[in-house]
Structure formats: structure tokens, C-alpha cells
């Protein structure tokens, strides 16, 4: 009959250590290049709130190393209203998640429990990323912050990048998604998209990314934030199509032009 750590007690222990037992030795290292990386994150506002989408791959250079990496995370507990999605260096993303969860816990445990809105989290993250950029030691990430503000009855969607650039919009994408998916999302977006339509649109974009991004996977997650709270789906696979007649025909024959 031992005393086993619960998630809450682990977090409290972490807080204690950070406050009273801060290590004396400062590291001399800084992030020069990302090692274990996630690719694009997509976000769009729809009728009931806001949705984020990302695949579950973390690449190690060109190696598809971790195929069940969770790049969409909800901050706080089930009734909270903040989602973040991160691309770029995965260790830095985990650091950001721990930091935001620590802040949310401290807010809840204080004498007057409060909850930061998604917009407040986004503003805070901007300050964090910009400060790190000034020290030439960035958190090498592109983050999307999403949430539904129950008081204002409005969805929020914002982005922060590794040098602290921050802005909000109805549709956002990071990484390759900003080149391949933003045009699609902008073309098809309407303010009154139903949940099913929004999800189908995001899946179409994720499919395009799987076809055209070397660092993408067809195993994906979708997350939504609405007036009822946040929900992060379990990973699932999306269908792909390879059967167009142009694809089937061969090009390497003797009579060919030598093209591929």
C-alpha cells in the first residue's frame, strides 16, 4: 500500500521544486535547429465555435519516427475553453503545454479561482515567444490557439510563431498548410459552417497535406471548442485516392519520352 503519484500531485511537486529548488547552474545551450518536428496545424471558426486539425506524426529529419504524437492539446480541465496546436520542435511544444497547464492550475488553486480566456493565453504566449526570440533562444514552434469565450459568446482563433508574430483570423494554418491549405480554406469558408461541413473541409485539407507534404501522415486528430467545452478526438485515418487513369499508366517504357 504505497503512496502513488496522481497527475495533480505530480504537478504540485513540480511547482514546489521550481519555486524553492531552482537549479543553480544555467545551461549554455540554445536551440539552433529543430530535431523532432511536427508539421502543419490547421484552424477554422465555424457556426458553433472553432476547430483545429493536425496529423499525429513527429519526424526525426526525414524519418517518420513517432506516429502517435499528440499535437492538439486542451489546456485546463474538461470544462475549460482553450485548445492549442503546435508544429515545429516537439520538445518545445511539450514545454509550452506544461507551462500553460501550470498557469491554469495556479489560477484554479488561487484564493479567487479564475480561468484565462483563449485570447489571454494567446497574448501570454506571444510575450513568451518574443522574449525567447530576444534572447536568441527561441521555442521553435508555430502555435495555434483556439477557444470559445462563454462570456462574449464568441470563438477565438489566433496564432503565434517562434519569433513572436501574433495575429487572429477566421482561418489559420501553420507550416506547409499555410501554402497548400489556406487557399482552400479561404475559398470554402463561411461563417455559418456546420460542424460536419467544417470537419469535412479540414479533412480535405489534411488529405492534400498527406499527398504533398513529405513530413505528413494520414493519421489525424481534430479538436473543437464550443460553448459546451473542448473536445479532442482520438486519432483516426483518412482515406486517400491513387486510382486516376493518369496515375496508373506507366511512363518508363522504351517508347516513352524518358519522363517520369
Amino acid at each position: 500500500m504505497g503512496l502513488y503519484p496522481t497527475p495533480l500531485s505530480s504537478l504540485l511537486l513540480l511547482l514546489f521544486l521550481q519555486t524553492f529548488l531552482t537549479p543553480v547552474v544555467m545551461s549554455n545551450s540554445r536551440t539552433t535547429r529543430p530535431i523532432t518536428t511536427g508539421t502543419s496545424v490547421l484552424g477554422l471558426k465555424y457556426r458553433d465555435g472553432v476547430m483545429l486539425a493536425a496529423d499525429t506524426l513527429c519526424s526525426y529529419g526525414s524519418l517518420a519516427k513517432y506516429k502517435d504524437a499528440r499535437r492538439l492539446v486542451s489546456i485546463g480541465d474538461a470544462s475549460s475553453n482553450c485548445l492549442i496546436g503546435g508544429g515545429g520542435e516537439f520538445s518545445d511544444f511539450q514545454f509550452i503545454v506544461e507551462l500553460l497547464q501550470k498557469n491554469a492550475l495556479e489560477d484554479r488553486m488561487s484564493g479567487e479561482p479564475t480561468e484565462s480566456s483563449a485570447k489571454a493565453v494567446w497574448s501570454y504566449l506571444r510575450a513568451v515567444m518574443y522574449q525567447r526570440r530576444n534572447k536568441m533562444n527561441p521555442l521553435w514552434n508555430d502555435i495555434l490557439v483556439a477557444g470559445y469565450d462563454k462570456d462574449e459568446e464568441k470563438a477565438f482563433l489566433g496564432t503565434v510563431d517562434k519569433i513572436g508574430t501574433a495575429f487572429e483570423d477566421d482561418v489559420l494554418a501553420t507550416g506547409f498548410g499555410s501554402y497548400l491549405c489556406l487557399p482552400i480554406l479561404r475559398e470554402k469558408w463561411r461563417a455559418d459552417l456546420e460542424e460536419g461541413e467544417a470537419r469535412a473541409l479540414l479533412e480535405d485539407c489534411l488529405r492534400v497535406l498527406f499527398y504533398r507534404d513529405c513530413r505528413a501522415l494520414n493519421r489525424v486528430q481534430i479538436a473543437k471548442a464550443t460553448a459546451d467545452g473542448v473536445l479532442v478526438s482520438e486519432p483516426y485515418e483518412i482515406e486517400t485516392s491513387w486510382d486516376s487513369a493518369a496515375f496508373v499508366s506507366t511512363k518508363g517504357g522504351l517508347e516513352g519520352d524518358g519522363g517520369w
Binding site: 526525414s62 524519418l63 517518420a64 491513387w242 511512363k251 522504351l254 516513352g256 524518358g258 517520369w260
Partner: protein, 238 residues
Amino acid sequence: STHNIHTNTPKTMMQHQHQHHAGHPNYESQLKPGEVGTGTTIMAIPFDGGVVLGADSRVSTGVYVANRVCDKIAQLHDNIWCLRSGSASDCQALTDYVKHYLSQHAIDVGRPPMVKTAAYLMKRLVYENKDKLLAGVIVGGWDPVEKGSVYNVPLGGACLKMPVAIGGSGSPFIYGLVDSEMAKGPKDKAEALALVKKAVSHAMSRDGSSGGIIRTVVVTSTGNEYEYTSGSDLPYGP
């Protein structure tokens, strides 16, 4: 053609070693900016009666997939084929030259060329121009003398006849799988085809520069059987 005895300068060698990742050349950093590469997985297995050749279908410029259904299996002669990896343009140029020389040679000797001749021609071109080219090639086919045979012509221009050949950026991930499968014994046509599809699927699953569909060609004395395995029907993955 002139004998080119130029070898890599120490500076190039240092760069080359610095880029070594798990002991194999890093294709992506050796391509020039904007150059189209075939991060690739290619594989060929000879069997009694012929050869099975297989390749993935992804062509990439950096991390963008320029062509997701390309055909990396090129025909050099009636029963001689090659698989291409590395720079797309370099491979196309090499294939065109070897096709041309082989067709001349076939007329000169009055019979179909042997696979080892095709492999040797490819090797000569790659070796003599080793400092300018980035091409890893596998030559495989059927001839009446050696029957089914497979030759690996890697980056530097060596030429090695092998019982199974794998190449491209995806190949390191499947050395273990291929070694253990080949240790179980020689393959017949169906087993060789199944192994090529399985191994290439596994490589495509882990290598970011390989993917798409699997194209296979089975070369025998009677002809060539062409097949493609859709990206939704892969034996493993993606």
C-alpha cells in the same frame, strides 16, 4: 571518354562525412537548391526465371511532393530495366545515355544485350562523372546466359551483382527486414513479388522522402508484367 581520375577534395570529403546520418549519405543536402530529388525506395530481387523490380512513386523538391505517382522504373532494353534514385535529372540523363548505347550495342553484336553489359555501361557513366552526379541506380533484367540478375550501382559508381538489391533514402529502414526475409531461403516469383511489395511498404511508412504507390515490373524470358499497388492497398502502412 576520357579517364577522369579526379577524386573528392578533402573539403568535399569533410562535408560528406559531416552530413552522414546513421552512416549513409544525406541525399537532401547534396541536392542543389530547387533541384528535384527522388528520395526513394527501390528494390530488385532475381528469382529462378527472371527478376522482380519495385519502387515507390514519390518525387520531392525539399519537403514538397512534386509528383506523387511518378514512374521510377525505366526500360533500358526489351528485358533490361533500371530503378532510379537521387537527382531526377541526373537519372533521366543516365537512362537516356544507357538506352542509346545499349541499342547500338545490340545491333553491333546481333543479339539482345546482357544485363551485365547494361550495368557496366551505367557504372562507367556514373564512375567517370562521380563528382558531378547524384544518382543511385539498380539495373536488373533477364538474359539467356545469366538468367535473372540484379546489379547495384550506388553513388560512387561501383557495380555489384547481388542476390537482392535495395537503394534510395528509404533503404536503410528495411535492411533488417530484407536480411531476415532473405535468410529464410531463395524466392520464387510470387514470393519475390510479395517481398518487394512488403519491404517497399515498410520503407515508405518510415521514410518521409518515399511514399505514394508501389510500381512493380516482373521481367521474364517471355516478357514484362507491369503492376501497380495503390496507396490504399499497401501490405503495410502508411
